[in-house]
Amino acid sequence: MVRWIPDTEKEEAEMLASLGLANADELFADVPRKARVGRMGIGASHTEAEAARAIDKILERNRPYSKFANFLGGRVATRYLPAAVDSILQRSEFYTSYTPYQPEASQGMLQALFEFQSLWVELTGMDVANASLYDGATASGEAMLLCRRQQDGRRFLVPTSLPWEERSVLENYATGPGLTVAGIPTDPKSGGIDLDWVRREVVRGDVFGVLADVPNGFGHLDGGLLDLRAAIGSLPLVVRADPLALSVLEPPGSYGADIVVGDGQSFGIPPSYGGPMVGLFACRKEFVRHSPGRIVGATHDHEGRRAYTLTLQTREQHIRRSRATSNICTNQSLIALAFVLYATLVGPRGLAELQRSLAERARSIAGALAPIDGLQAPRFDSPYLAEFTVELSRGTAAEFLDRMRRRGILAGHSLADPRPTSPRGPERILLAATESTDDRAIQKLATAARTIVPALGGGA
């Protein structure tokens, strides 16, 4: 008997008797015979020890990135997490609690979420943040829909360099309302967006919003973003930003963003093979009544003490139903808590210092790879922080990464769209510096690259 359910066979019999039922099957008398199933066929039960052993055995087939010289980055970070983050996350009053619809039973989580929102507002220079969305990609989708509520038009402009997954997510969000996601061409030298193209499209009309990211899909800082507001006039502007980058970079609000979204996983939780994540969302106050997701507000209770509660709920699905600003209900509260915990434990000076030190390491990586023939590192001449893109002039990214793996190196990831229907682009790899990137790891990478690159594509 599994001890996760109280073992009360005797009480069960008494409860059935008090209901006037002969057996437990009668509890399901309302399920028609023809709809019944015999067995699910999912196997016998196990003790907790047996299950843990079985699952550990499967997990042994994984090789964590910490066993490699690791240069993986992009929207998911492999960051060191202070032990104190998880010790708070494991407090069951937080992780086993329900959505704070009942503020009198949820003041702790509500306050933590209010702090989380305030932190994202501070990082972005926006007026209001919500209490989280699923991840950065879905937050971008919601931001696009919010733009459409502010501005007529059919077309939404995004950099062509946006990771293929995020482009696909946006295209799905565009399907229902019949919108089009259009790619802004990339400047071949800087990797940034072509501002002249954007200006022409805005003049052509039918554009209801623009999204750009910092760092962009190549890991670089696109100077065009700082001039984007002037290029698009009053059109809604979404900036997708990395939270650590915002600890040292100008907040997007200062260069004209209306909505700032991001991925918050790097602050507080391990990658866990891609989830759970947390989506960050903030906007200017003029946008808030059309914005998605739960928002926590600060107020006072009947005794005049500071108190917190969900607010502006008439935007949401449980009240507005088909006219809601979004269908989102369950969000990522616990990961939002991790986000504010991490930032507070590391502190503003610590965050800026971490970003500076990662940027220095990234420059060392680029410096070590730059002299190697057949590989352009970095591919673009724009500035970068912790990551940048390299391009191979022979062989494929897949072949390069596979040979690196065999030498114990996770040398970043390919930027190609893996769907067979997608056209083949240049062989580009995004490389990131992490806290484990020391001189030895960089030397190991460079030494391997010197051997591997010349042999790519059947070369010498």
């Binding site: 003790t47 990135y65 910490s66 003041q107 391990p270 891609g274 369950t330 940027a359 893996p418």
Partner: protein
């Protein structure tokens, strides 16, 4: 038993160090000065112990499943076994980047593959995707799949309407609207779908009927087979909202009831923690007709090994970044593995027995608007209290600390 939550007079975290972090950001080699944050970041600089005290106090001002009973039906607030928390924190689970080479994440793919197959059996549907981040996200993806299906059949221009009972969870109409459908809510009869209303509403414009069974009043829709026949007769799809699957595990399943596509919530039926409103984890399950439209990538077993399959030309594409919420899949898999066939059936039996027992006891004092046999939850009416000047809200809030 009485319970009082802590009431700390705990200020917002920034008030613990009002002057924290006011210096401008350092300059970064190679980065032009116009990028640099001139105003610095205003956030407190605190010691680790100060941070721990602050958030420990906040936790004490919160109410969780391990504090006391959390009698919510639809959200199936159940015990979240600790073994799930332990396994998800193994280095072999937590320290996996979604872009790692496939050879280094075989165990992750195997867990996903095994859980998908298990959930296919639980739902009676042929294929499962673990990509959705939550239930509503699964609804939305399923409606995009239905849309793509009708587009491929050349019927999208006319099949523009999604029907739902007026008892449907708010996410149902919201998801349908986001997926570009118009919605029509049908009046219920005695807490259940009114077959006549449904039959009158079904037409060649119907894309889908969305249903939760047992429904949000805790009643099993006993006409489900006729409902399925009617919806399919009109050429529409039948969507299962799995919020309440907990009550019927192993008794019936969406496939057997005639549903074409379903979402489940691992944070309800499979005991992953609610986390104060999230993270959840959604599951999409589809029959053979709709399976080709599931999001990419799909996990595939080749011999002893696993790979991601992106070659799905009918797929709707991606609905989020990364392959899914692996950390939660792992917790759900541990829950299912421990319970097994008999355990999961026991879960449903006990939930339904407890709910009927409590309903019968409380029904002696309060009115019960619908039929007596319920599933995992039930509805009471406060009408009789009103005579004595007590509001329903007063009763609902009573279990919470004063």
């Amino acid at each position: 038993m009485s319970f009082r939550q802590a009431r700390w007079d705990e200020p917002p975290v920034w008030e613990l160090d009002p002057r924290g972090g006011s210096e401008p950001a350092p300059s970064i080699p190679g980065v032009p000065d116009r990028w640099r944050r001139k105003a610095g970041l205003r956030w407190p600089e605190l010691s680790e112990l100060e941070v721990l005290r602050h958030y420990t106090r906040l936790s004490q001002m919160n109410f969780g499943i391990e504090t006391t009973t959390y009698p919510l039906g639809s959200c199936t607030m159940k015990y979240n076994p600790r073994i799930g928390e332990v396994l998800a924190r193994r280095r072999t689970a937590a320290e996996l980047h979604p872009e790692q080479p496939i050879e280094t994440v075989q165990g992750a793919l195997e867990v996903i593959w095994r859980l998908e197959r298990l959930l296919a059996k639980v739902t009676g549907l042929s294929e499962v995707s673990l990509q959705p981040a939550a239930g509503a996200h699964g609804e939305y993806a399923a409606l995009l799949m239905i849309r793509a299906y009708f587009r491929d059949r050349g019927e999208l221009d006319r099949r523009t309407e999604v029907l739902l009972p007026d008892t449907a969870h708010g996410t149902n109409p919201a998801s349908a609207a986001m997926a570009g459908f118009t919605t029509r809510e049908l009046p219920s009869k005695d807490g259940c779908v009114d077959l006549d209303e449904l039959r009158a509403a079904l037409s060649e414009r119907t894309a889908c009927f969305m249903l939760t069974n047992p429904n949000t009043a805790g009643l099993f829709e006993s006409d489900i087979l006729e409902i399925a026949k009617s919806v399919h007769g009109a050429g529409g799809m039948l969507y299962y909202d799995g919020a309440n699957l907990n009550a019927i595990l192993g008794v019936t399943n969406p496939g057997r009831m005639g549903f074409d596509v379903a979402h489940l919530n691992l944070h309800k039926t499979f005991a992953t923690p609610h986390g104060g409103g999230g993270p959840g984890a959604g599951v999409l399950a589809a029959n053979e007709t709709l399976a080709p439209y599931l999001p990419v990538p799909r996990v595939q077993k080749v011999g002893r090994n696993f790979r991601w399959d992106y070659d799905r030309p009918s797929s709707i594409g991606k609905i989020r970044g990364g392959p899914g919420s692996f950390g939660l899949d792992l917790r759900a898999y541990a829950f299912a593995l421990v319970h097994g066939e008999e355990g999961l059936k026991h879960v449903a039996r006990r939930a339904v027995l407890n709910s009927n027992y409590v309903a019968a006891r409380l029904g002696k004092r309060l009115e019960r608007p619908f039929r007596p046999l319920v599933k995992h939850e039930f509805v009471l009416s406060g009408a009789r209290l009103k005579e004595r000047g007590v509001r329903t809200l007063d009763l609902a809030k009573r279990p919470a600390p004063a």
